[in-house]
Structures are given as structure tokens and as C-alpha cells.
Symmetry: C5
Subunit: 264 residues, 5 copies
């Protein structure tokens, strides 16, 4: 496994990925409240904040906008993804090869796996190809490990999330991006399932927009549980003032401070 210490994906082993692939996954409706955020430049600008270690986008945004920001933030190219017009079993088209991602300057790559979907096996084999190619390029691989589909009773269940983290470890991801399992204890279990210190690093995905305090407490719990950080999208760029929350995330994730200290 790659050392994240030496990777542009992390800073001192801590990770804050700003995810901006909602244009593909959810479509323009995600930008209804802040229509200016539909313009990639506005979100790449947000990503230049010191707290952010990486911006995660699909190939098209990487090609069109990243060149102007390459000195300010590292690039995580998402390799698969699908519009929500798709009505089949959970699945995700591989929109970018690792070779091409490397060509356009990706510092890391990301891949979604829907464990429990009827597409799980096909996706795992596509992941294999991507993971082995990423190793050849010495690029870290982040798995969006999201159980979903016919095999799932409850995708937000703490056991399912721990299983998702383990699947990322077993299949060779460097980082497992998982949903929040809800409590610090559950997050500790998830971090252990991912193999602990020598295993896959765990980052919590931000989910839908909540209050600052609720959000930061959740992030703090992740860090205290041994998680490596956060991947956040709508909780940042759907806010009026993303900088404020990013300052607080800088304090909690990178400086190890309390939520109260971060908020003041």
C-alpha cells in the first residue's frame, strides 16, 4: 500500500477531499439554491482553501478547469460515476482510465463500489484493473465503498459500513470513503475493520447538509476514532460562506482542536 504521508492526497496524513462530482451524479438540481456553484471555477476556488487537500471531480472538470488550480490543490480524478437518470441496479460507468487520469495530472484516483448490488462483481473487476494500473503509476486509490442495491437491508447500518471499509482494504484501496456509522465507537470499529494504522485510511463522506456544529462533531468523532479525515461536498459548496466552515475543519482535522475551539 502506498504511504499517504508522501502523497499529495493528504497533508501530514490527514485528508480533506472536496468532492464535486454532483453535476454528474445528481445533475443541475443540486445547484438550485446557489446556482453560481454550477460553475466549476467557483468550487475550484473554494478548494484552494488550505484545509482542502484534494478536489475530487470527473474527467471533464479535471480537463477543463484544473489546469488553472494545479498549484493550489491536488487532483483526485473520479474514475467512475453515473447520472441519476439511470434506473437500473446500482452501477457506475467507468468514464476514465487510470492512464488518462495520469495524463491529465491526477494525484489520486477514486472508484465507487456498490457492494451488494447486482453489479458488485463487475464493479470489483473494473476496480481491479484500475487499482493495478494506479499502482503502476504510483497514484493512491480511494474507494467510495457504498453498499447499495438488492443485497442490502440497511446501507447505513454500522455493520454494513464496517464491512464496506473492510472490502476496501481487502481489495487493495489506499483510502476507504464510507458513510458515517453514527457514533465514535462505530467509527472506531470501522477504522479497525479497514486494518488500522497499516491498513486503508478511512474518510467519512459528508452526506447532506446539516448544521455546522452537528457536522463538526461528527468529523471530530471520526478523527478521534482514528479516521484520516473527511470527503465533503454539499456541506461545503451548498453553504453561503464555505470559508468559515473550512476554517473550522482546518482546526478539527489538521490541528486536532475541539469543536468548540474550532467554532470560535
Amino acid at each position: 500500500m502506498l504511504s499517504l504521508e508522501d502523497s499529495p492526497l493528504a497533508r501530514d496524513g490527514k485528508i480533506l477531499i472536496l468532492a464535486y462530482d454532483h453535476g454528474l451524479e445528481h445533475g443541475p438540481s443540486d445547484f438550485t439554491e446557489h446556482p453560481e456553484r454550477m460553475a466549476p471555477e467557483t468550487v475550484f476556488d473554494v478548494a484552494t482553501h488550505d484545509a482542502v487537500t484534494s478536489v475530487a471531480v470527473q474527467k471533464g472538470l479535471a480537463e477543463g478547469y484544473y489546469p488553472s488550480y494545479e498549484d493550489d490543490v491536488s487532483l483526485l480524478t473520479k474514475l467512475n460515476g453515473t447520472s441519476n437518470l439511470w434506473m437500473g441496479e446500482p452501477d457506475s460507468a467507468v468514464n476514465c482510465t487510470v492512464d488518462y487520469a495520469a495524463d491529465i495530472g491526477a494525484d489520486a484516483v477514486g472508484f465507487t463500489l456498490y457492494g451488494g448490488s447486482n453489479s458488485e462483481i463487475e464493479m470489483a473487476e473494473e476496480f481491479r484493473d484500475a487499482q493495478e494500473a494506479a499502482r503502476e503509476h504510483d497514484i493512491p486509490m480511494v474507494m467510495w465503498s457504498y453498499p447499495r442495491g438488492q443485497g442490502l437491508r440497511n446501507a447505513s447500518d454500522a455493520d454494513t459500513i464496517a464491512y464496506a471499509a473492510r472490502e476496501a482494504l481487502e481489495l487493495g484501496a489506499d483510502v476507504a470513503k464510507v458513510k458515517s456509522p453514527g457514533s465514535r465507537e462505530a467509527m472506531e470499529h470501522t477504522v479497525q475493520a479497514a486494518g488500522g494504522e497499516n491498513g486503508a485510511k478511512v474518510v467519512m463522506s459528508g452526506g447532506s447538509k446539516v448544521s455546522d456544529e452537528a457536522f463538526l462533531k461528527n468529523v471530530k468523532a471520526v478523527m478521534d476514532a482514528g479516521g484520516a479525515g473527511l470527503a465533503v461536498g454539499r456541506n461545503i459548496w451548498q453553504r453561503e460562506n464555505p470559508t468559515q466552515l473550512l476554517d473550522a475543519l482546518e482546526a478539527v482535522i489538521h490541528e486536532g482542536r475541539s469543536v468548540d475551539a474550532a467554532l470560535s
Copy 2:
């Protein structure tokens, strides 16, 4: 993303694609009123009009007829397409590789994606291969982004069309060819969804034949909304006198004139 300024697909950043792939997609019945237009030469002749920046055809027409016109118009080879005898979920056979398109002189390539179809994921992966190969050849990629199939409530809905434009941007198309969403405001939203100035250029597809004035007003709205131009087929070559309308399109698209001025 390729700069369209330097591409033969556009002239000063404005695009007028004359589409002539109806022989495959609709069959000879599209030529019932003007049977002479079934002969490719008659339409390639039309394409020599100054207003036209590119002619879009399937491989067979490119091979057989384009060599005589290569000094007069640039060639956009459509890579996929299917007869309407096909009764399955919306899908499109990949009839031409990018390497072959380059061999036969394509200045640009085109690819249909039916977002929301049961074939969306497979088509997106075929698009990936084509897009990355097109980058290697430095050939611009135009996506016919047409949501269609089981995932669609309303394919002509403005939100769906904006999503289609965004999908083209996210997947790495240089140009998004979309249906008209009906109003200038909706087209502006679509152009923004495609990433604006630094994103994918948006061209409206012409659709079925309407009156000159109605058609030109629609085109004017596209240009005013920041669109790059038009892809037109039947509205041109199903007309008695295509030259007249092309003169008007020259005025509206390339010279930025009003519909009234263009019509007089």
C-alpha cells in the same frame, strides 16, 4: 479540453453543423419529399455554404463522398448510430473507431449518449474509449446528449436538457449537442450547466422542420444565451431552397445579427 477557436469544427468559436445521418437513423422515408436529397452529393453540396462549419455523417458517407468536398467543409464523423428498425432499449452501435475516423480525414467526431436508457452505462464506457482516443488524435468530441429510455419522464423537459449538457461536460465532451429547452432562460441555464465559457460548448439540435422565422428565433435565443451554435439536418435539407435559410443562419450565428435583419 480542446480549444474550439483553433478547430475546423468552428469558425471564430461559432458552430453550424449540417447533420446528415438520417439515412441510417430514420431510413429513406426522411427523403420522401425531396428524393434527390437521398443522394449524398446533394447534401454535401449544401454543406459547402459558408455558414456551415462542419458536415456530420456516418463513416460510409465520409468514405464515399467527403473526398470531393474536403476543401470546402470540415468533416465530423459520427461514431455511433443505429437504424430505427431496432426495437430494443435506446442504444447505438459504435460503427467507427476514432483511429479509423482519423484515417479518413475526420476533423471532429460525434457520439450519442442516451442518458437514462438501460444502455447508458455501456454507452458511457464506449464514449470513454472514443473520448480518450480523440484526445490522442487532437480531434474535438461532440456529444449528442439525448436522455431517452426507461429513466426518462420527459426528455424535452428543460431540467433534463440542462442535465444532458452537464453530463457532456462531466464526461469530457468538447461540445454538447442538446435539444432546445424552449426559452432563452432555459438555454442560458443549459449553457451554464455545461460549464460556461471554459466548459463544453452547447449547440442546439435543429429538430423537425418548422417555419423559417420560428426556427431562426430559436437559434437567435441560443446565441444570445451563450450557445456556440446549431446542429441542423432536416430543417435545411428538407427545404426547397436551403441556401436562403443558410444565408440567414450565417447572419444570426456568425454575424450576430437579428432575426429580422437575417430574414430580409
Copy 3:
């Protein structure tokens, strides 16, 4: 598109293909009346008649029998085909690659496309590979363009046959082999749909055995309509005396004579 003038598939631009792939497509029952014709030598002997420009066979017959006839007739290797034991949607296995066909001396290759079948898209993509490989070898490509399957109301309908010819043109075939649409007018429409003089050449397929006069009149109509010739199988080798009819076809196809003249 390749020039047929320089191709061994045609003689002065006229084509008479003797098709002998019935052993695979229909099985031994096609030889019930003339069992000796099951022996490939007997039909290759027929193919040495001057009127015949090409003999169309599957790979196995090409390998086993053509070497003795290579000075007398050109070889059209059929690339796909399936036994009639197959009960699925119309489809055709690709039994021979173009590279291999070239290795065993093919002067031309043939490929069946069942437009409207549930297999149409897959077949069109297999055709693409074959067509592009054939171009590399400078070997002409003949499409057996036979709409068939769930998308078809009436496969013998003149509009369907014209569409089949157009599909061959659009996908890059040099020759479209289609069913007879029944009248000279319909055949003219079909020839125009295939792109006319600079497009795909049209050859009528012979179909089941009919009387000499009926058959020749049909062929004459094809030639008068601008067709390039005929592909004939059972109408020749299921006859007692194939030479007689071949003499007549020589007159009608290659010498442009009337049916009456040809029959006397």
C-alpha cells in the same frame, strides 16, 4: 470506398456472385434433390463459368476446395453465418476473421447484418471491426443486408429493402446484397438509397428457385435499375443444368442483352 472496377469481385463493374453457404445456413436438406451438389467440387466447377465473378463460401470450404480453383474464380469469404438449428433471435456467428480470410486468399469478404433483430447492434459492431480490417487489407466488403427479427413488420417490403441498402452504405459496405423489392421502380429506389453511382453497389439475392424467365426478368430489372448484379445460389446449383442459365446471366448481366435474347 474501394473501386469495384479494379476488384476481382466484379468484371467491368458487374457482379455475379455464386453463393454456396447453404450447407451451413440450411444444412444438407438443401441438397436433397441434387445430392451430388453437396460435394463442394461440383459447385466450384460451376463457379468456373465465365459469367461468375466470385464464389461466396464459408471458411471451411475456402480452405478445403478453393486452392484448386483460384485461377478460375475469385473468392468471397463469408465471415459470419449460423446453422438453422439456432432458435434465438436472428444472429450470426463470426466464423472467420478478416486477417484469416486474407491469409487463405480471399478477394472479398461478406458479412450478414440483420437490421431490426435484437442482435442488430452487436452485429453492427462486429461489422465495424470487419469493415475496418478489410480496408486495411484493401479487400471489398459485401454486406448481406437482411432486416429480420422483432423489429420487422415485413422484411420483403420495398421500403425495408431500400432501408437495408442505405444501412449498408452508411456503415461502409462496398456492396449491398439485398432481397428483390419486386419491381424495377422499387429497385431503382433501392439503388438510389445505396448512394447511386458513388455509393454502395447493389446486388440482388437470388432467393428460392423460380422459372428461368421469371428469374432473368428480375435480374434484367435490377441491371436496368442501376444495380451491379446478382448473388445467386439455389437458383443455379439446384438446377439440372446450371450452365444454361449461367449463359443467359452472362448475356443479361455482362453483355446488357434482353431476356429474350439471353434465352435464345
Copy 4:
């Protein structure tokens, strides 16, 4: 087509294949009566009898046991095959590539085609790859041509067996291994369907165990009908004393003697 005269698969153009792939196709239950025959050595020993020209086994047996017998019998590596635990439409996994078969010393290769199965087209395309690779290695190809599945009314029907032989010829097999059609006349028809002297050689498959005389009469009929020989499995190695029957087969197949002479 390869000349069998020069091939280790045959001796003076006559073939006796000892088939021993029942361990995969039927499982250990085929060895219930003679459990020692489950040990490959016992059957390879039988294969050293002069009458046997080739032993047909799956890759694993070829790798593990053939090296000790390579001076005594030629090796026919079966390329596909499936356990009878499989409950889907008749199909057969490709367990060995031709390149690998050549690496481990195969003198010939074998391939099953289930004409009429829903898998027929896929199998035919796998056969194509194997056949063309075999040609490159100058290794003869034997087709186990066994119509089976939803397309079949009666797989033992003489017409079906003749069709199976023809399919082997058309697709480029050197030898067609078919079921016995029951009479000498039917076998003659089958041999003719396979193309006669210059076509695919026909070998009858031995089927279930029957009496010596019945079996030899059937074999004699095959030879008299122009067949090339026999592929036999259970009728040999399920016998108490295989040598006795092999002596008789030597007489009938290789020396052209009568059944009575062979039995005495």
C-alpha cells in the same frame, strides 16, 4: 485444411482416438465399475496399444500424465468441456488456449460445438479463435459436433448428424466427431455432408458401452461408409479387458478386415 496423412492424429489416414475426458464431463461416477480407471495412468497405458492413434484429454491430465507417454501415443488436448453439475443451456467452458495446448505438446486439439443450443453462436466464435490459432500452430482441429439444446427435436436423427458433420466442414474443422446415425447409408450421407475425400474427416463417437460384436459392426459400417475411424471412451476403458477389443479395432479400422475376422 491440414492433410491428416502427415498428422500424428492419424495412421495411414485412419483414426482411433481414445477419449478420456469423462472425469470432467461425467465425474467419478463413470468409474464406479472399474475404480482403478479413475487413475489416469491406467488409461494412458491402454492408449499405448498400437490401434490407438491419439488420446483425448483435458489440459490437467495432459500436463500431469502425458509426459510419460509421449513416445507411445499422440496427444489430443480437448480445449473446452464442462462438468455435469452445470444446469444451464448446453455450453462448454474453454479451459485451454491453443497456445498453451501447443506448449504442453498437443499434436491435435478438440472442441465441442453444441449446434442448436442457445450457446451455439458464442461457441462458434470461440471455435473460430481456436481454429485460427490451431492453423498457426499447424495442429489439426477436431470438432465434437453435437447438436443439443432448445433447437433440437432429435439429436440422434440422421439428418441432424449429417448437418453436424457439415457444420464442422463449413467452420473449418479437420475432423468431425459425430454420433452414429445408425446405418451405413446414413453414415455415407454424413461423410458426404462433411465434404467427402477433400473435406472434414468423419469419426464416429463410441457412445455408451454395448456388446463387442454390435460395436464392431457399427465401426465397420463407418469405415465402409468412408469414415476415418472412431473416437471411443467408455466402450474401451469400462471393459474388463480393453486390449481384446483394441486388437479387434486394429483389424477393422487399420487393416480393413471384417468383423468376423476381427473377432476371431
Copy 5:
């Protein structure tokens, strides 16, 4: 077939594989009783016991943890595997190529085949690719031969297990990992089905946790029946004190001692 005598997978021809792929196949719930065993280091530590000849893990664990143990135990990289969130027909994603396994230091590779599953044919063909690649790298191939799915009446039936062992032999595995058929006689039959001394070596899989004595008696029966050893997972690392049982396995498997002697 590779000689196991010279392979790091075995010691003097005896095999004890410590299997630790349960994190992927069963998820964190397998570690509920001994949560510290979820940490790969704790199990790799166990694997350094002299009795263990190989540790079997998925790619991710091999990458992350094996480097610290490479002097103490050989590495068997499992090539396929799937989470139990998967609800389709028994199947297993190929998560690692043989080339990559070799890159990360695998001394042997493992592959699951579910005979009788609707995925059997696809899995067998994936096995073929892996087996032939393993031969190129001179790495032994262990087949997890586990009949399962719609074709199975009873997967624990002695005949089915013998068939599973035979299938491993026929397809070219060096070692067949099978369930225990229950008696020494049945295990002898299984060892013979796998080809005996020159065939595939048979190792029994450990199954769920049972008492020490019951477990060792079963292992002893395997050794007495000519088996090569054991692949064990939960019966070791779900125990309070794995060393004790490993000492006993050392005695039974490697020193050929009785169960009583081993237990005292």
C-alpha cells in the same frame, strides 16, 4: 503440473494453509468473538508458526501486511472472492491478476470455482486465464473447488466432493481445496479422483470451528487417506490460543503422529 516438493507452498510435500480471506467473504462479523483478530498483524503473527506453510489472503492484505512477514511464511494470494452482500448466483470477482500477484511476491495463487453455479462456465474460463498465467510465472495454483448453486442437490455429498477434486485435476490445478467428505474412505476416493500421487494434491478445508479432538481426527483421516494437508481459517484464528492447536497440527500433518500423541 508443478512439483510441490520444490514449492514454498508445501514443506516436504505437506501443506498447511492458514486462510484469512474471511474479512472479504464474511465481513467483520467473523471477528466478533476475537475482535483483535480483525487486525491482519495478529493473524500474520499466527502464520509464523512452523506448522503453517502458507498464508492465504486477498490482494489488499498481501500488499499491506505481508512485507513484514515474508521471511517467515509463504504467501498464497487469493485471486478471486466476493463479499456476502452479493445476492446473485454463486460467483466470485477476480480481484487480482496473476501478474500483479507475482509482483507483490505471491509464492502461490488461489482461485475459487463454484461447480454447478450458473457462473461455473465463466469462472472456469477466468480460471483458465489465471492457470496459464500462473504456469508462466511458475507459481502453483490452488483451486478452492466448491460446488454450489442451482446445479447442486447436496454440496457436502461425498460424490460431489470427489467430483470437485476431479474437476480441479482436469482443469489443471496443482492443489484441490475441498470440503471434508466425512470419512476416511470418502477422502481416499476424493484423493484418487484428484489423480493420486501424480495428480492434484488434495487439502481439506477447515470449515466452522469444532472441538480440537474432532478437528484433529478429521485432519488425521485426510493425511491417512493420502491428502496433502489442510487449509484452515476460523478453526485457528477464532481460538483463544491458536498455538496449541498449531502444535498439534504440526505433529499430525508434518510429523505423521497420531491424534492422541499430538494432543498430549
